[in-house]
């Protein structure tokens, strides 16, 4: 047997799956190609923070021993798991020192799988390890990770976005065929846009969140980051659906998303929300999105001007709801039921409250502390109505904007981010500037509707630009079809960074 073909890790799921099923490629070779790529380029990217290569190769051998023709589409496909999913027997740390053992202790190792991890395992997908994220998924750059920031493969002085920045950087750099992510206010779409990958934020409730460490329970969603819309459809098919272990998953049928990609844009109405093409949009982003709109028009879609008047309140609403739910969800990280074994040892004179404070103060980073404190204050007596309740009411108005827009149009097109990738360190001193990164992605999160980000061009500096396609609740099939049709007539998604 010769050396592993180095180009294999650059394949899409669709192509790799075809080769595996026709028997012209072995899962072991595909897996080894990804491992070799990680070993070759990850020192530049810091996208992969936990490697389970031996386990991956063992699993690949088992797939190769099974009959090729009866395999599921994901059987033998290597992927990376965002470090917020619990994976049995694998350190799962939310990129936080509260769960990471570091030099002297042991990482938190969950004794169970998240539902998504379990479903992917059952489908035969092979986890290569864990990808970097902002600490407890709080951030838009991966700079808050306790493992250090990931780098953008298109320019390693820039961020890959976040919080699923490790997943996006890894897929862009062909370190894995796809990766899992989570999206609460833009954490799949924004890094997908900044790295030239294709990422899907699903309808709230479409994919079970069991075993995924919670940040903002009323908004958190699970989704894939891939090289194409078609691949997103293949992954979604495997992970979507009701789960008795997550009471927020409605019993809505899971269609064959990958079988519904060949629709036509003819007769479809696409809305352009004027609030998204406003001041502050980078001129090259504006030009790329306008060119994409023209492409849809050429495919036969009718473009309609629409308004989502509460868009300007999106970020402020999010930064009440999110920190409030964070302050509640992160109360469980007190060093009792889980934590790294390097958590401070109990001394005789220590009380329980002192122990909590030592574990939390030493374990949480600055952004997590900020959000816990914003939420603690906003939920405290006398402030609840003015902040949390008011934000929940404005959420109703944002949702109404979308409901009314979708009475007139099938889909909405917007930029995913106002700017291409920013320089590492340029937004860390002012949290509000960082929060504004998600101005185009937060409203769809508040409305709970699905949205896809896919590449639609490059800036003159060679940085990817993302287009966002937003659809009505549970209409992922329509969103993915529109993305796939665009990728059939463009080649932005096939461009690769030089590393």
């Amino acid at each position: 047997m010769g050396a592993t073909d180095p180009t294999l890790s650059g394949l899409t799921i669709a192509e790799a799956s075809r080769r595996l099923r026709e028997g012209s490629m072995k899962a072991v070779d595909l897996t080894q190609s990804c491992i070799n790529r990680i070993e070759a380029v990850d020192a530049q990217l810091n996208a992969v923070i936990c490697k389970t290569f031996d386990r991956a190769l063992d699993q690949a051998k088992k797939i190769d021993a099974s009959p090729a023709t009866t395999r599921a589409p994901l059987a033998g496909i290597p992927y990376l798991t965002k470090d917020i999913f619990c994976e049995e027997g694998v350190p799962s740390t939310a990129a936080s020192n509260v769960l990471r053992g570091g030099l002297h202790g042991k990482d938190y190792i969950p004794p169970f799988d998240s539902t998504t991890t379990r479903k992917l395992k059952e489908a035969g997908a092979i986890s290569l390890g864990h990808s970097n994220t902002d600490e407890f998924v709080m951030g838009s750059s991966t700079e808050s990770s306790c493992y250090g920031t990931s780098k953008n493969p298109w320019d390693t002085t820039r961020v890959p976005g976040g919080s699923s920045g490790g997943s996006a950087a890894a897929v862009a750099a062909d370190e894995s065929i796809f990766a899992t992510g989570t999206d609460t206010g833009g954490s799949i779409r924004q890094p997908a846009a900044l790295t030239g990958t294709t990422g899907l934020k699903v309808t709230y409730g479409r994919v079970s969140r069991y075993g995924v460490i919670a940040m903002t329970s009323s908004l958190d969603t699970i989704g894939p980051i891939c090289k194409t819309a078609e691949d997103c459809a293949i992954v979604l098919e495997a992970i979507a659906g009701r789960d008795p272990l997550d009471a927020t998953t409605p019993d809505v049928a899971v269609p064959s998303y990958s079988g519904l990609l060949e629709g036509s844009m003819k007769g479809m109405k696409i809305g352009l929300p004027r609030e998204y093409m406003a001041d502050g949009l980078h001129p090259e982003v504006e030009a790329a999105v306008k060119a994409a709109v023209k492409a849809y028009e050429d495919m036969g879609a009718t473009i309609v001007d629409v308004s989502l008047p509460h868009t300007k309140y999106g970020v402020a609403t999010y930064y009440v709801l999110c920190p409030c739910e964070v302050s509640s969800n992160l109360a469980r990280f007190d060093g009792v039921r889980y934590g790294s074994t390097s958590s401070p040892h109990v001394s005789q004179e220590q009380s329980l409250v002192e122990y909590y404070e030592r574990v939390r103060s030493g374990g949480f980073g600055a952004e997590v502390k900020r959000r816990i404190m914003i939420g603690t204050h906003a939920l405290s007596a006398g402030y609840y109505e003015a902040y949390y309740r008011q934000a929940q009411k404005i959420r109703t108005l944002v949702l109404k904007d979308f409901t009314e827009a979708f009475q007139k149009v099938d889909l909405l097109l917007t930029p995913t981010t106002p700017n291409p990738a920013f320089t590492i360190g340029s937004k860390t001193s002012d949290p509000v500037t960082m929060y504004m990164e998600d101005v185009c992605t937060i409203p769809a999160s508040l409305a709970g509707v699905p949205a896809l980000s896919l590449p639609c061009g490059f800036s003159k500096d060679g940085l990817p630009i993302g287009l966002q396609i937003i659809g009505p609740a549970f209409e992922e099939a329509k969103v993915l079809m529109a993305g796939h049709q665009y990728q059939k007539i463009t080649d932005w998604h096939t461009k690769k960074p030089t590393l």
Binding site: R337, K369, I374, R395
Partner: protein, 99 residues
């Protein structure tokens, strides 16, 4: 509202965080900026708007009252605690202060 260092100390205490003096200075400034951002929500008239807590349309999700085995055994779940385990329980420091 204008947040002061004393507010931040109080909030940190409620959140079970101990902050250094440097953190108090930094977070007083940061939280001030963030509350300035979110206070613009007060300009929206929501007197006739209902609150949205979630968007699934689900109400009162229930299941049969049967004991089911979860994915992990009780001992495996206890084993993730950094604290000592005695008689299948986690031994924490005293809740009533120092010994």
């Amino acid at each position: 509202m204008q947040l002061t260092a004393d507010h931040v100390r109080h909030i940190a205490k409620l959140a079970r965080l101990t902050l250094t003096e440097e953190e108090i200075i930094r977070f007083t400034k940061d939280l001030g900026g963030i509350f300035t951002l979110i206070e613009r929500l007060s300009e929206v008239d929501t007197s006739s708007v209902a609150a949205t807590a979630q968007v699934t349309g689900l109400v009162n999700v229930s299941r049969a009252d049967e004991i089911r085995n979860g994915g992990a055994s009780p001992d495996a779940l206890l084993a993730t605690s950094p604290l000592p385990i005695r008689e299948h329980q986690i031994e924490t420091p005293s809740a009533h202060g120092s010994h």
